[in-house]
């Protein structure tokens, strides 16, 4: 059973003629333990959707259940079961990591000793023990982000919502945050995150949905999405009769399209990893030598481009 399920979820801002439909009917099913990514340019509706699911914003239409509770009927029960890491963080610069964590636990109804124990556990997990009793104003961006994540995990939620978790972080800190997020999967925590970074969606998410103009345009694993677009591209250079090689390869059922350019042959194939050995066998059998060979996969940007007609890179820049 999905841990997050929405049907026709929508949110309109303003009324009358100036009404803006930020989320225009989103259907989603996120399975327990998944890292699910919401990818889209700014203003696509990804943050609005996340804020609705995290009880910060009331939907204007549709239904949703989060962690087994109805979002609109019992938001309070949803809050008990979810963690939230907002874009702005959420800790006070005067406060210490430990006191923020303990307070968070107490706000979730934990007794003080339990909250202190859990805080120590999390401080060790995100490697903030040494800085635990310093004010967070002295932290680096990456340290503060790890504290934000720890705050979201304080009450052992079943679902963690993260709004653009690595925006503004340096590459090293990003990698650390990814590591933390992957570790959550091992603990069975479902992660729902938004991002406008393609590499983040690709590297981190088990499944993702691309959202544009308030609607999901495509959904699947990163590999599925990329395969759906164009398949893989194999580029090869042969020693010997290039035209013979091209004819030979074109005749194969796994080759969708083939062309020759600059002395190289480019093949569009369904799955590069199964096509490569077959290509090698064919050329070998025909007595043709291989000078060079490369396999490239379409990027998520290609997927985005194909689905929305725009490049996400241009949007993010």
């Amino acid at each position: 059973m999905p841990i997050i399920e929405t049907s026709g979820l929508r949110r309109t801002f303003g009324g009358g003629k100036r009404a803006v439909e930020a989320v225009a009917g989103v259907d989603l099913a996120v399975e327990p333990g998944e890292i699910f990514g919401f990818l889209g340019p700014n203003g696509a509706g990804k943050t609005t959707t996340l804020r609705m699911l995290a009880t910060l914003l009331t939907p204007t239409g549709g239904t949703a259940t989060v962690a087994g509770c109805d979002l609109r009927r019992s938001p309070q029960r949803v809050r008990e079961r979810i963690g939230y890491v907002g874009q702005a963080g959420g800790s006070d610069l005067q406060s210490t990591a430990r006191s923020e964590l303990v307070l968070q636990g107490r706000l979730h109804g934990m007794a003080k000793p339990d909250a202190q124990r859990r805080a120590a556990e999390l401080l060790a997990l995100v490697e903030l023990e040494a800085a635990a009793d310093r004010s967070t104003g002295t932290y680096s961006g990456g340290q503060r982000r790890r504290l934000d994540i720890a705050i979201g995990l304080m009450h052992e939620p079943r679902v963690l919502f993260m709004d653009e978790p690595t925006t503004g972080l340096d590459p090293q800190s990003r990698a650390r945050v990814w590591e933390e997020v992957r570790r959550l999967r091992e603990h069975g925590v479902t992660v729902f995150l938004t991002t406008h970074y393609l590499d983040e969606a690709d590297a981190l998410c088990d499944r993702l949905a691309i959202i544009d103009h308030g609607r999901i345009v495509i959904e699947g694993t990163p590999a599925q999405l990329k395969r759906q677009v164009a398949g893989d591209v194999v580029t090869l250079g042969v020693d010997g009769d290039r035209d013979q090689a091209l004819l030979l390869l074109k005749a194969q059922s796994f080759v969708r399209e083939a062309d020759a350019e600059d002395g190289l042959i480019r093949l569009y194939v369904e799955r590069g990893e199964t096509a490569l050995p077959a290509i090698l066998r064919l050329l070998d059998g025909a007595g043709l030598g291989l000078r060079e060979l490369s396999l490239s996969r379409p990027s998520l940007d290609d997927v985005f481009l194909r689905q929305t007609g725009r490049s996400l890179r241009e949007q993010a820049a």
Binding site: G90, S95, S99, G109, F161
Partner: protein, 253 residues
């Protein structure tokens, strides 16, 4: 039991943050001292003017000073909240099951406690200059100030949650508090005012608080103005708390 417990947690957090910041503590203590040092010397001479209310200069002016301190102190607390909105603290707490009323009350109680400490300081420092007040009177005036603090802090938080930026918050709050202050008779007794001004002043709830304060410091504890002032402040404080707690529950973009 959720509300008292949560209120205490939020109060503790904000009191702790306040005390951790030596600058805030210093400003909090210096403010009342400035009122006494820079304003009280004027009182000596004005008290001898004909028509000045009886009871000694300090007994006429200190209640006004206290209420002014309460008004200015409490209405500015929204600045802190706007900062908290920006750094995501409010959002983070709204995704916990914490009571929304407690989010407001915990903060407002911190503001009330700091106001009461400042007020007590003013009263104690005024005693050597001839201020007289009974213990019961002091308790009544502190209760009145607590209600004023609760009322204006709640309003300040509600407005801050509404406008969400210092740029709009500052002019809004200052232009709202100025007529309240001028019409309340804090600066000069409204007995000196022409009839039309006095009529408008009847609509200023703060003027009833000032009347109540003056009566208490005049040792007229049983005066109807005391009951009236306390009752009006209590009623308005309740409305303001309810409205502000609703604001905490509403969407904050």
């Amino acid at each position: 039991m959720r509300i008292p417990r949560d209120t205490w947690l939020i109060f503790q957090r904000h009191m702790g943050l306040f005390l951790r910041n030596p600058v805030w503590v210093a400003i909090g203590l210096i403010q009342p001292l400035l009122y006494l040092l820079l304003f009280a010397p004027l009182l000596k001479s004005i008290a001898s003017v004909r028509g000045f209310p009886p009871g000694g200069a300090y007994n006429v002016f200190v209640p006004g000073l206290l209420i002014q301190l309460g008004l200015f102190g409490a209405t500015s607390v929204g600045f802190g909240l706007i900062h908290e909105l920006r750094i995501g603290v409010i959002e983070r707490m709204r995704v916990t099951p914490v009571s929304r009323l407690a989010l407001l009350l915990g903060r407002a109680l911190r503001d009330v406690v700091t106001l009461l400490v400042q007020s007590l300081l003013i009263v104690l420092l005024s005693l050597p200059f001839g201020l007289t007040i009974h213990v019961t009177g002091l308790l009544v005036i502190l209760a009145l100030l607590a209600l004023i603090g609760l009322l204006f802090a709640s309003l300040s938080y509600a407005v801050a949650l509404w406008v969400k930026s210092e740029d709009s918050f500052a002019p809004l709050v200052f232009s709202a508090t100025l007529p309240l202050l001028l019409l309340s008779g804090v600066l000069l007794p409204m007995s000196l005012a022409p009839d039309w001004l006095r009529a408008i002043a009847l609509a200023d709830p703060l003027s009833y608080a000032v009347d109540a304060g003056r009566s208490v410091f005049n040792d007229h504890l049983g005066d109807v103005s005391v009951v009236k002032g306390v009752a009006i402040m209590a009623a308005l404080a309740m409305v303001a708390v309810a409205a502000a707690a609703r604001s905490f529950n509403r969407a904050v973009a």
